[in-house]
């Protein structure tokens, strides 16, 4: 599904990813771990096409198509979703309006007619129930005045609405207390399917107790230095990252 080969990425002329390769097949859950500054978030940003990150060499394909030549919105509409580490606030734009615009853009991209208002509201009700999303939050402007936990929950809600083929969760566990973490992880688990893949970017092993990965990769200085199964995460928890350097 996702093939990354020898990827080099720079920001403001500084090289962060230095020849990273990764292969994700349908249905798989990959965890990317590593210390601060190892390039975890840069990887997420490069996949979704953040304009501040420059791909200097290497390739990224998604379902066989070259991702690097597509605009960020095209990548999203191809079915790639990023749960942001720091979701932004958009004052005055209601969640309903925001999600309806996003869903209809996706449908337009896939040559489907727009969803009717009543179908949309029914669909939204379903997904809210699935991820335990409060009416209070969906009636407000996008992330405006949300707590850290509410923002993360809102990301998972959006993920449920957009039904991506590949979801990238960037430090979704950061800033969450244990209850919020459980709710968010439950949401992610409910959305898993044999066709859908997930990349979890995390600093700690904690999240992986709730969302069990098929593979764990350790990122250091812009490269994957070690790959393994979920046991690797436990080993990291015990030994830290230093022994891998």
């Amino acid at each position: 599904m996702l093939e990354i080969k020898n990827l080099h990425v720079s920001i403001d002329g500084k090289e962060i990813l230095k020849g990273l390769s990764l292969s994700v097949k349908p249905g798989e859950v990959h965890a990317i771990m590593g210390p601060n500054g190892s390039g975890k978030s840069t990887l997420a940003s490069a996949i979704v096409g953040h304009p501040a990150f420059e791909v200097t060499s290497g390739s990224v394909t998604f379902e066989g198509r070259n991702l690097l030549e597509k605009d960020p919105e095209e990548r999203a509409n191809e079915g790639i979703f990023l749960s942001f580490q720091y979701p932004v606030e958009i004052p005055g734009v209601s969640m309903v309006n925001f999600m309806r615009t996003a869903i209809n853009e996706q449908r337009k991209y896939r040559k489907l007619p727009p969803m009717s208002a009543s179908d949309f509201l029914r669909f939204m009700r379903e997904k809210k129930a699935l991820v335990d999303m409060d009416n209070k939050l969906t009636n407000r402007s996008v992330n405006e005045g949300f707590s850290g936990g509410e923002k993360k929950k809102n990301e998972i809600f959006q993920m449920a609405m957009l039904e991506p083929k590949l979801a990238i969760l960037d430090e979704t566990d950061s800033g969450l207390d244990i209850d919020a973490l459980r709710i968010v992880a439950n949401g992610v688990n409910k959305l898993k399917s044999p066709e859908k893949s997930t990349i979890l970017i995390t600093h700690y092993q904690r999240l992986l107790e709730y969302i069990v990965p098929d593979y764990v990769h350790v990122l250091h200085d812009g490269k994957i230095v070690k790959s393994g199964t979920k046991d690797l995460a436990l080993e990291l928890e015990a030994k830290g990252y230093d022994w891998l350097k």
Binding site: F84, T101, E105, Y109
Partner: protein
Amino acid sequence: MSDAIIHEVTQSEYKYGFTTDIETEVIPPGLNEDIVRLISAKKNEPEWMLEFRLKAFRQWQKMKMPDWAHLNIPEIDYQSISYYAAPKKKSISSLDEVDPEILATFEKLGIPLEEQKILSGIAVDAVMDSVSVKTTFKETLAEKGIIFCSFSEAVQEHPDLVKKYLGTVVPSGDNFFAALNSAVFSDGSFVYIPKGVRCPMELSTYFRINTQNTGQFERTLIIADDESYVSYLEGCTAPQRDENQLHAAVVEIIALEHAEVKYSTVQNWYPGDKEGNGGVYNFVTKRGICKGEGSHISWTQVETGSAITWKYPSCILKGDNSTAEFYSVAVTNHFQQADTGTKMIHLGKNTGSRIISKGISAGLSQNSYRGLVKVGPNAENARNFSQCDSMLLGDKCGAHTFPYMEINNESAIVEHEATTSKISEDQIFYCNQRGISTEDAIGLIVNGYAKEVMDKLPMEFAVEAQKLLQISLEGSVG
């Protein structure tokens, strides 16, 4: 990166630019007493109307164009303008008699008269150039005693009302443009709501400029008698032109005891091309008076068009316990200039006013809010709240706020808040990542920013206005 996107914005062109090919009767360019007399004669006006025009013309001759606004106005040769143009076909009683070209034009603008009539229950007084082409729903309104007709017709049919109120809110010598309008106004709308009547539908007028080199000088007079209510909509889209077109309208509103008038505008005159050539000059005087006790006037405007906008819809709060509101969204892009705002003049006791202004500037444009809050010595317990927000897209545009306050009564409470913001690249990218293009993201964010004002628009206008905001700003990010 930002530069590239800003450059992209400036590629978007006016989407409603076209002209209609219909025969027009135009009098020769130039302005003198004979022309004023000719206009009056063409309209078969009574003597008092001609006198009103001549008095205004004489005042205008002694006046100078105002230069205090934050605007760069090219010199206007008032003698090169033709002051009267009328579509030749007149006196129409059914839609079948309307020039098919005109009907097609309205359809292009998205306001098919027939459909509007059936679907939205709006009475449409469509003004093409200077003379009313079509008035609908008149009979339904007449049953309630409501008068909604062209200004010319009102002069003929309801001279007492026109005579009693014309020029009482905006005197003919009020300012340069109001004086010009008073001398040469061509047509416009007249509304009278009788005592105790609630107008059952939104009254609406669409104005367009159509004949080259023809200034458009509408005159609107709205009178809401005791305990009446009316909501009035005015919207305009003008065809694309190379030459600048002058537009100087006057709107007067009179609200008597406990009457309520809502006046909403969506203004989308041709703003000129992306190099700053052409575009409409819009110099408008709009003023209402809350004359009676407990009366209420609200102005809501969405301004996206015109090369130059000079416009301050104002209220005089004369009646005790009267209230007034001003809600405005003004968008400027490319080389557009806007100097707009309001004046709230508190004269009566316990009067209240509220001002919400949202400016959005992009490209190389200049967008100014100018507002006056004045509290007279007898206006005990006057209350005002003003909020003026500016949003900048790009770093080559300007946003300015000029609030003035003249408070002559110690019991007054006057508040002013102002903010300036930018659309962040993070917000745009967040939308992009959800599959929303940059242009749509800007539309979404700008509409969110302007929501407090957009929500005040009647339903019929809301959708159109949202689209307009987006079209006006296509591609601009900072």
